[in-house]
């Protein structure tokens, strides 16, 4: 089974392109899985995600690639109870209600899937970057996207 990132522009350059299977469910302290990459304005310091060419705060055009922190806290969350319409693409096993929210990474809040149980989810929960299968391409390729999971003891 081959695997690909849903959109490479969201991530820092994957360091292990010869072994794409390694992308899924890797822990990021392994050091060889893709981290999220945004951009930072050299004029005013604003951090954006995904990268864009001009700064939404000061309109400057000197944005440089900027890798985001991997851990933060849930800033807000909700649950997607019903199956979204296309262009949403459900995972192979079909739509299951899932959590989504903003994660406060300090310099920026990033919207992401949250692989956190309903019992556990709350504003302020410490979470850490991970990857999850998003859907399967027509040719069978597993497409992987980013998400945040609860941080484990001692990870910070």
């Amino acid at each position: 089974m081959t695997t690909r990132l849903i959109d490479e522009s969201l991530f820092e350059n994957p360091t292990n392109p010869t072994n794409p299977e390694s992308l899924v469910h890797l822990e990021f302290d392994d050091g060889d899985a893709p981290r999220l990459a945004g951009a930072r304005c050299s004029g005013c310091g604003t951090v954006v995600f995904p990268r864009q060419e001009s700064c939404p705060r000061c309109s400057g055009r000197t944005m440089s690639a900027h890798v985001l922190p991997v851990s933060g806290r849930v800033w807000s969350w909700t649950r997607q109870a019903f199956a979204p319409k296309p262009p949403y693409r459900a995972p192979t096993e079909g739509h299951q209600p899932y959590h989504v929210g903003y994660v406060d990474l300090g310099e920026v809040l990033v919207e992401a899937l949250l692989t956190v149980s309903r019992a556990e989810i709350r504003i302020g929960l410490p979470v850490r970057l991970t990857t999850v299968p998003a859907y399967r391409d027509d040719d069978g390729t597993e497409v992987v996207t980013f998400a945040f999971r609860p941080e484990r003891d001692g990870e910070r």
Binding site: I6, T78, R79, P84, R89
Partner: protein
């Protein structure tokens, strides 16, 4: 500014909101326009400038084929949920710029059932954002509400109180879609959509149309016994740091909102304070939005909403009646028509001829507020 330069509403018309497969968007628009013209006592041939908006139901300027081919300038505008305000702004500016002395603003839409379709590219976003199930307006409202309740110590029951008042008001309003009152418990117990919001805390895409006839200065008083003055209409896009729909990221807070800017500008231009408002329309795409907008527009302080609701202060008989026609929650949201529905209701309230429950005591200051993607808000002050 002298009365000569002021713009007034001199007529309004509306096609009932809801679902009616027997009429098209254009049918509804034609009816709303004819009703507004009749209300103003003028003919279509008297209109010197027109603006129309519809998100999905046709090109508004083709209405001239039904209303009469008078040659009138007819501009189509499209600003999402703020479209109705854009039509009024386009007409008001044209009147004040000297293009005409009588103008018409019309909005209409007829949407499919269920959530609105979205296109990531149309919002300048990558396909991944929609494909992974994060591009839903319902999620945005839930995420914003969740955070707002947390920051200001408001309970989920307050969300149910908003919806209950909307359906209560709608039940008395002949032009509303949802006319069945619901208890707070029924609302809390309805299907989960995106917590903290349940099914009955969301408005649905629907259909409808509303139209206004606007006139300049003395012409307004010639035509109408009770012209309603458009004391201000302020339209604002978001500033940096506002929390908007379809945002893959946000800067660290505090988060601003275009509603704050638009409301401040509208009150400043009109020379009235939020406390002067006697009847208000607030964008209530969902219960949480109305709660937030109550404070963002300055009608109350952040965190005061629950107490106000519990005390009935936002009921038609309260200190600050909100969404006396049931708002979007009871009316549904035909995107192009929704902003003009707000004007229709406030104008009729100020003229003492509300279609539903009339605010007692002859209110003299009204307020409207729309808010929508991609971070725009328009607020108006209407006075009589």
């Amino acid at each position: 500014m002298s009365r000569r330069d002021d713009v007034y509403v001199v007529g309004c018309g509306m096609h009932p909101f809801g679902r009616d497969e027997s009429v098209t968007g254009m049918d509804m628009a034609e009816r709303a326009v004819r009703e507004a013209l009749a209300d103003a006592g003028v003919g279509w041939e008297d209109v010197g400038y027109a603006a129309g908006g519809s998100d999905v139901s046709g090109k508004p300027d083709t209405l001239v084929g039904r209303l009469g081919l008078t040659g009138v300038p007819f501009v189509n505008v499209q600003n999402g949920c703020a479209t109705g305000a854009s039509t009024v702004l386009a007409v008001a500016n044209a009147l004040r710029a000297g293009e005409a002395s009588l103008g018409l603003a019309v909005g209409f839409d007829k949407h499919e059932r269920g959530a609105f379709h979205v296109s990531a590219a149309r919002y300048g976003l990558g396909e991944w954002y929609a494909e992974t199930g994060m591009m839903l307006t319902t999620q945005f409202f839930a995420l914003k509400t969740q955070r707002y309740l947390y920051e200001h110590g408001i309970s989920e029951r307050a969300l149910a109180m908003v919806a209950a008042r909307a359906f209560r008001n709608g039940s008395h309003h002949p032009l509303a879609w949802r006319r069945k009152p619901l208890t707070e418990q029924e609302i809390l117990d309805s299907a989960e959509v995106s917590p903290p919001l349940t099914q009955y805390m969301f408005c649905s895409p629907g259909q409808g149309s509303a139209a206004l006839v606007l006139a300049l200065g003395d012409r307004a008083f010639d035509l109408c016994e009770q012209p309603v003055k458009l004391a201000s209409l302020a339209f604002r896009t978001r500033r940096f740091g506002s929390f908007e729909v379809f945002s893959p990221w946000l800067p660290p807070g505090p988060h601003h909102s275009p509603s704050i800017d638009a409301a401040e500008a509208a009150f400043r231009t009109a020379g009235v304070r939020p406390a002067d408002v006697q009847v208000a329309q607030l964008q209530d795409t969902d219960s949480g939005s109305e709660l937030i907008h109550l404070a963002e527009t300055g009608l109350c302080g952040h965190g005061e909403q629950e107490e106000l609701l519990a005390a009935g202060a936002t009921d038609p008989t309260g200190r600050i009646p909100v969404n006396t026609d049931g708002g979007c929650l009871a009316g549904g949201e035909p995107v192009g028509a929704s902003g003009l529905r707000q004007f229709h209701e406030v104008v009729r309230q100020l003229q003492g001829r509300a279609p539903g429950v009339q605010v007692p005591g002859a209110p003299r200051v009204g307020f409207t507020h729309v808010y929508g993607a991609p971070g725009i808000s328009a607020c108006s002050v209407l006075t009589i």
